[in-house]
């Protein structure tokens, strides 16, 4: 503690300790304990804090007084704990100063990083990113840019998201057959050898219809009548007509 604070505390004690072993201001108790002129083992600190908590409820002391008690109390606990452990030594005033400096240093360090964090945040928010190049599809064999099942599934999820959610259930007899959808897809591919993935679902009015269409597409891929491809990363997935390889 700085000398000014100590002086002020002496004029107006934070708390008066009343125990058989020590009777007086708590600041004095700390000073004497530091000089080993009072045996802290004889003073029940838990009782002392209990009393102080009661005093807080009655008198509502100002915040700086509460803080002062906390600092002194913590130091007393540290001294007592050190006294109970035979090996530990507790330093004198210089040590207390070092301890205060360490805490102040830590707060300053944190404040500095907070400022640096703000500058990183502003830099990030400015959007001045750098980007690595993407693989050029012409250079990489088509086989290596084949669409993964995940990409197809996520494209399908996007289709579903555009359709009305299935919250209100109106039970209607709706008949969408896989065979019909298969035929419909075949006809679409017969007219146009290449279709956009989303175009296939353009006529789907309900989720069920979209699901069946998707199943039909998977079936066509399975039996080798269609394949899916993606020309560039993030690009549209396309569905291609493919001649079915007869007899494996």
């Amino acid at each position: 503690m700085s000398p000014e604070i100590t002086a002020e505390l002496e004029r107006d004690p934070v708390y008066l300790v009343r125990t058989p072993a020590f009777d007086g201001p708590i600041e004095l108790l700390l000073t004497l304990a530091q000089r080993a002129e009072v045996d802290l083992k004889a003073i029940p600190l838990a009782g002392l804090t209990d009393d102080y908590l009661r005093a807080i409820e009655q008198d509502h002391p100002p915040l700086d007084r509460l803080a002062a008690f906390l600092v002194i109390g913590a130091r007393l606990v540290q001294l007592k704990a050190a006294g109970l452990m035979p090996q530990a030594t507790v330093g004198e005033e210089e040590d207390l100063q070092a301890w205060e400096d360490a805490i102040k240093g830590r707060l300053e360090e944190y404040k500095r990083f907070k400022e640096l964090a703000d500058s990183l945040m502003r830099r990030h928010a400015s959007g001045r990113f750098t980007f690595a190049g993407l693989l050029e599809p012409d250079v990489i064999p088509q086989a290596r840019v084949q669409v993964s099942l995940d990409a197809v599934a996520s494209a399908f999820r996007q289709v579903l998201d555009r359709l009305p959610p299935a919250d209100q259930v109106t039970v209607e007899m709706e008949h969408v057959s896989l065979a019909e959808k298969l035929e419909e897809l075949r006809q679409m591919l017969a007219r146009q050898a290449q279709l956009n993935f989303s175009a296939i679902f353009r006529h789907a009015r309900t989720r069920l219809e979209a699901v069946v269409t998707f199943l039909a597409l998977l079936e066509l891929i399975r039996i080798g009548e269609a394949r899916v491809a993606q020309v560039s990363a993030f690009g549209e997935i396309t569905v291609h007509r493919q001649e079915r390889k007869e007899a494996e």
């Binding site: 830590r106 360090e109 944190y110 500095r112 990083f113 907070k114 640096l116 964090a117 703000d118 500058s119 990183l120 945040m121 830099r123 990030h124 928010a125 400015s126 959007g127 001045r128 990113f129 750098t130 980007f131 690595a132 190049g133 993407l134 693989l135 993030f234």
Partner: protein, 184 residues
């Protein structure tokens, strides 16, 4: 183009090596360590460093940018071109992070490599979740383990960290008023 020497032990000048470096970084299209480059370019480290400096200078004012994260080099687009690149790419880049995430990133960026315990000592709170999220976003990574009981993980930033901030290297971070790089 002369083809008089058969190339194997050809001695190249810095400009020539810088051109070769550019070609390699362009085709590999990823972060490449200087160690790898010594092997690829068949040149000693000081020559690679000189070539990197030369390439970096040559790219000033161009659309590309030589980025360096510790011992890794990567050819990327210039931060000044980010708008046009984003228009064509529509990439997924981590958008705003939480204040806690920026704080943690700042601590790691200036004090790396360091342990979670050291980060928590500075921030005064548990940082497990925020570290996990930064690692998942690829902005930080485990750079090693400390040789003390429990061998705690050491964290450091990544190339991606430079990429979302548009920095040429960690040296371009705003100066830290007082950095003690000794503590970890």
């Amino acid at each position: 183009m002369s083809s008089s020497t058969d190339g194997a032990t050809q001695v190249r000048d810095t400009t020539g090596l810088a051109a070769a470096l550019e070609a390699v970084l362009f085709t590999l299209n990823r972060a490449v360590t200087v160690l790898e480059l010594q092997d690829i370019l068949q040149s000693p480290l000081p020559d690679i460093e000189a070539a990197a400096a030369s390439l970096s200078d040559a790219l000033l004012g161009r659309g590309l940018f030589l980025q360096r994260h510790q011992d890794q080099l990567q050819l990327v687009t210039d931060p000044g071109q980010s708008d046009v690149v984003r228009r064509v790419l529509r990439p997924e880049y981590p958008s705003r992070l939480s204040p806690a995430a920026y704080e943690t990133l700042a601590i790691i960026a200036y004090r790396q490599p360091l342990t979670r315990a050291r980060i928590e000592e500075i921030r005064g709170v548990n940082c497990e979740a925020v570290l996990e999220s930064l690692e998942e976003k690829g902005l930080i990574t485990e750079t090693g383990r400390l040789d003390t009981p429990g061998t705690p993980r050491l964290f450091g930033t990544t190339m991606k960290f430079l990429q979302i901030l548009g920095l040429r290297s960690l040296d371009e971070l705003p100066p830290s008023p007082q950095s003690d790089s000794t503590s970890s």
